[in-house]
Amino acid sequence: MTAIVDLRDVSITYAGAHGPVPAVRGVTLALERGRILGLVGESGSGKSSLVSAMLALLPKSASVQGRIVLDGRDLYSLGEHERRALRGREMATVSQDPFTALNPVVRIGTQLVEFQHALPNLTKPEKLRRAGAMLERVGIADPATRLNQYPHQLSGGLRQRVAIAGALLVSPKLLIADEPTTALDATTEMEVIELIRDMRGEVDGSIVLVTHDMGVVGRLCDDVAVLYAGELVESGPVDDVLNRPRHPYTRALLACDPARIDTPSRHLPTVPGTVPSPTALPAGCIFAARCQDVMALCHEVKPLLSAAGASRVACLRVSAP
């Protein structure tokens, strides 16, 4: 299979007040055509930085090392102008908050036309027609009326549908959905998950779903990548990672999820300790200080990602048992 997005040894460093802050370190990851990747991690894991790097939307204070290749082109060897053209045509995003993603004073139709600004050779009426057709495909009844409405006249779930329709209008090679269901109610969340699953054929590339919700990953994704403190600790097919987690952090994280604990219990599992600060990183394994299965070696040797079954895992217990 061909990779749509290929991250090779990607590191992201921010210029901080007290020196450089290495927020993401050495992430190698390939997103394959037609698959949905779940990018999972807690706060401080670097998942937002990584996503911003894929969209070439990092702030000026950040520098990217390594290569991010989108469909054969190295994103960071392109000029700013070409990168901007790519953002409009080959990448699209669905953001967390459907209430701020749309301009409140512009009609839905106008905004959906504007989303297609990078598409050449289409007249405005054609773009509006495409917008209406896309609204219908994402399950919005009476698209003609909706095109004339303003965002505040739509409910949260409908707005997220409109945002998804807007992202799909350009047939992107990379669609990044950043916590697309977090702001929605449980019953609406399910509809949006099903919609993304149904619409995956519209994306001529791959979808990245950024989330902290393991339930959403299980229901929607093909692959998962687990980030911890700026490093990729485990990646592989959903079934392997969620049901046979190999990295102790993945195991601990899944064990914490109340939805995965069958017997009701007042005492819930936790991951003792805190995430190391990116400016004070340990010498060996990044997770050693909190790990249940830690060995003496873990504090000295940094584990590399190595194949384990269908997954890749960065753990000495797996690579050198």
Binding site: G16, H18, P272, T274
Partner: protein, 300 residues
């Protein structure tokens, strides 16, 4: 009760000096490049105002017909005016007049505006509505015409000037304070205080005033140049500070009349207006940065 859970690991806190917040704020203001320059200029202006009799080389109202319209020289750094008075001394004494009007006018405006703003914001309902209506009506008055009308009735004097400034600026403070109070009272920490049974005056003192202070100080620093402008404008029209007292506006007006014979008069009177306006504006901008509590993040 005994400690129940594991203690959370703690990173060293960002600000461990324990110094008084005002002192910390001043230090940060002086670390701000524009803030430092503006602060020094403002300090200089205040010094001019306070110590004018000692700083000024001559009596600002002493007429010397023989040395009229002299250009800058070693005896008179900024030259002399149409009556032979020393321009530098008049500019220095004028600083006092300008700051007196600006400070007392703004403070009076603040007192009226902020009090009504807190009352309006806390009471809401019809009291708030009536205050809002009054404030909008006042703001719609053309300022110079209103001022001229007041001067026509009460006669030009320092007190009239301050009153005009207070009444014309108060609605602005009312608006800002009231809106800020409405925002604050919808915040959860105010609701939390209410849920503890705290009284309205207590909430106003512990939560509203500290959170209003920052925006208000910035607003004052930004408004002082405008007030100096009003004073200069009215004096320029002959309706403000009356001769022979020195005022930047009346000096500007004189300079304007003799712009062909003695251009240094207009320049000498205009420069302090510009410098003080820019300095107070920069000070306001710097205070805005410094007083944001979140800006202390990551600083030593």
């Amino acid at each position: 009760m005994a400690p129940i859970t594991d203690t959370v690991a703690v990173a060293p806190p960002a600000n461990r000096t324990g110094a008084h917040p005002a002192w910390v704020g001043l230090r940060r203001l002086l670390a701000h490049p524009a803030g430092l320059v503006a602060f020094i200029v403002v300090l200089g202006l205040v010094a001019c105002a306070l110590f004018a009799p000692w700083i000024a080389p001559y009596d600002p109202v002493k007429i010397a017909p023989r040395i009229r319209f002299q250009g800058p020289s070693w005896e008179h750094w900024l030259g002399t005016d149409q009556l032979g008075r020393d321009v530098l001394s008049r500019v220095i004494y004028g600083t006092g007049v300008a700051l007196k009007v600006a400070l007392s006018g703004t403070l009076a405006a603040l007192l009226i505006g902020a009090t009504l703003g807190i009352v309006g914001g806390l009471s809401r309902g019809s009291v708030d509505g009536a205050l809002l209506l009054l404030c909008d009506a006042m703001r719609s008055l053309p300022l110079i015409l209103f001022a001229l009308a007041i001067v026509a009735i009460y006669g030009p004097s320092l007190a009239t000037l301050i009153a005009i400034i207070a009444f014309s600026m108060a609605p602005g403070y009312f608006r800002v304070v009231r809106n800020q109070v409405l925002v604050l009272r919808s915040m959860d920490f105010v609701a939390a205080s209410q849920s503890m049974g705290a009284s309205l005056p207590r909430i106003a003192l512990t939560h509203l005033v500290p959170n209003l202070l920052g925006p208000i100080i910035v607003l004052i620093a930004m408004d002082i140049p405008a007030v100096i402008g009003i004073e200069s404008g009215l004096s320029f029209l002959g309706q403000g500070i009356q001769p022979p007292d020195p005022s930047w506006g009346s000096m500007l007006s004189d300079g304007y009349s003799f712009i062909r014979q003695a251009p240094h008069l207009a320049i000498a009177a205009g420069l302090p207006v510009i410098v003080s306006t820019v300095a107070f504006t920069f000070l306001g901008e710097a205070l805005r940065d410094v007083l944001d509590p979140k800006s202390s993040r990551g600083r030593g």
